[in-house]
Subunit: 360 residues, 2 copies
């Protein structure tokens, strides 16, 4: 994420420091996963392509740095104020491990062949190896966070792991259930996507000794940012370009996942339009037992997806979802007022904006 | 396990206390897994049938009680010496949760329909729900052990989780590789089966304040017991009765899993006999992509399995595996000398014997 940001000049040294932090997380991750069994190491090497924007590690460091640094809106942050060390380094690595573990398992569950333009572990090495690799990552994450000297932080991480799963199960329970209220959607997304982002923010500040009120504010910041992030993912699945996003479009609809634009469209559409959209979705959703997913031979915009996009335009559902995400980002930025006004806080605000302007 | 033991009269009160402890673990487990999401609670109710012998919780309590109680070979243990409380109760619950999580994922990976005579979560609710439920259980286990006030014990549990996975991955790496030495087999089994049993023993003693030497001895006890346990599982898969074991026989061969009797047979058989056995195994092993597994319509002894049993008799491979397991149990019982001679230690020895006499 930070590498792609269009940041003001005075934040460039901070952005560069964040790139160093991401590199340190990569190294720590490799060290934590290293095994005496070559087969395990071979499998773990496939994980390189699962790291994307490193959003969660960046949030741990930035929230930690922002909470620890003095008020200094214009000054360049001295490096001594931007430590890349435990507990922040450990926590950042833990959050990234848990994130990657969920991606590895998600790809198994979604029967996904590609991620970030590369082949998934399940496609390359089979579902068995991928499920066990995900379990290995979860265990490695919990081992690391239990060794960082803050049992309450370890409890928070494990609680977050439970919340993630509860969100996934709630989503599964509502699969193909196209009449859920938006609140149910937010309940799913806060759990499955936003909870880990919020935990990264909270624990980053906590590790810098921030008071509870600041931790709580950054938790709220992360929750709002996380929901906005998921809405943007929903939008990219409908409106993005496969060649940019690196995976086939329309996957959410195929898997029966409820996305905000779709929920809004079905609630807002006239009965006849609604019925036509439901037939369209039905055509796009393979019935279990699943046939090979049709997207794999698709170009950027399969015909059903084009029709779905046209339907959504009639109810302004894409615009609605964009507006909800933009409002969440504004409220998230307001949460940052709990921090001293300094360079890390300003970069957090820039990152918040980028969550909904990204194309990938 | 304890409920099925044929124990001497003076150990009966202890066995009954252990049944109380198992009931307390059930209650604690339900409390730890309770969610604000009904879909999660509905799914967790399926786990009831995954608890079998509760071997790992029993080992936490017995090792804890044995390490804490005085030398008292004949006396009935006073209840005050047999507490059912944290940290032992928590640790016992953690070990059981991790065990059940691995069973839930194993059933997905093995495409298993039945466990302990009941329907598996994956068969009942689908692979997606089962994978996420396993992740939920892992996270719940780590949350609980992070809250017990001993971060080093939490690290040991998470390390054990990694070891379990490494063992599974090593096994997968050697799938259908029928010429591994017995040492490789032991390396797999110590990790995938024995490590959690050994960790249960060590942490039970540790939670009672046992010195490091006693913890180490009980870890060795658990490792040996665990390997013997797996060998007995291997034997039951070949020689057991489906109606007693509660799942189809010959599954290990079908899944390409290396078992001790088979490894011994292939190493000991003359070339022609070896070639015939390999053809037999090949016939029993569905080629990926997997066809529906043939066992599901089978009676207790499918014809191929009968032929395999007959082949093994020619090389005394069943007897060999039994002898290895019996030797491990004897050495495990010798490890118990690190404990004071009291009732819990004596029940541990009875349990060790039962590991290789059980029919289920």
């Amino acid at each position: 994420m930070p590498a792609m940001l269009d940041v003001p000049a005075h934040l460039l040294p901070l952005q560069s420091r964040l790139a160093d932090a991401a590199a340190a997380v990569h190294l720590r991750l490799a060290r934590e996963l290293a095994s005496d069994i070559p087969a395990v190491n071979r499998l773990c090497r496939h994980l390189e392509r699962y790291h994307g924007k490193m959003l969660r590690p960046a949030l741990v460091f930035l929230c930690g740095w922002a909470a620890a640094a003095p008020e200094a809106p214009a000054g360049p942050p001295p490096e001594a104020d931007l430590p890349i060390a435990d507990p922040h380094l450990g926590l950042a690595t833990v959050c990234e491990m848990i994130h990657v573990a969920t991606l590895v398992h998600d790809d198994v569950l979604d029967d996904a062949d590609t991620r970030r333009g590369g082949v998934t572990v399940n496609a390359l090495r089979g579902n068995e190896a991928a499920v066990i690799l995900g379990d290995f990552l979860f265990s490695a994450a919990y081992r690391l966070c239990s060794s960082l000297g803050d049992p309450d932080a370890a409890v928070a991480i494990a609680q977050c792991g439970m919340t993630l799963c509860a969100g996934e199960l709630l989503q599964l329970d509502h699969r193909l259930d196209y009449s859920i209220p938006e609140d149910t959607y937010f309940g799913i997304v806060e759990r499955k996507t936003a909870s880990l982002i919020a935990t990264a923010c909270r624990l980053g500040a906590r590790a810098s000794g921030a008071p509870a009120a600041v931790q709580d504010a950054l938790h709220r910041f992360g929750l709002r940012l996380g929901v906005a992030f998921q809405i943007q993912d929903d939008l990219l699945d409908l409106t993005g370009l496969q060649s940019v996003v690196g995976k086939p479009m329309g996957k959410d609809v195929e898997k029966g996942k409820l996305t905000l634009p779709l929920i809004h469209h079905l609630a807002a559409a006239q009965p006849e339009r609604r019925a036509r959209t439901l037939r369209l979705i039905d055509d796009m959703t393979p019935q279990p037992p699943q046939a090979p997913l049709p997207t794999q031979a698709h170009a950027d915009a399969p015909p059903h997806l084009d029709a779905l996009r046209a339907a959504m335009r009639q109810t302004d559902s894409i615009a609605h979802a964009r507006a909800v995400a933009a409002d969440l980002v504004e409220r998230a930025k307001a949460d940052l007022a709990a921090l001293p006004d300094n360079a890390p806080r300003r970069l957090l605000a820039v990152m918040a904006d980028a969550v909904i302007t990204r194309a990938v």
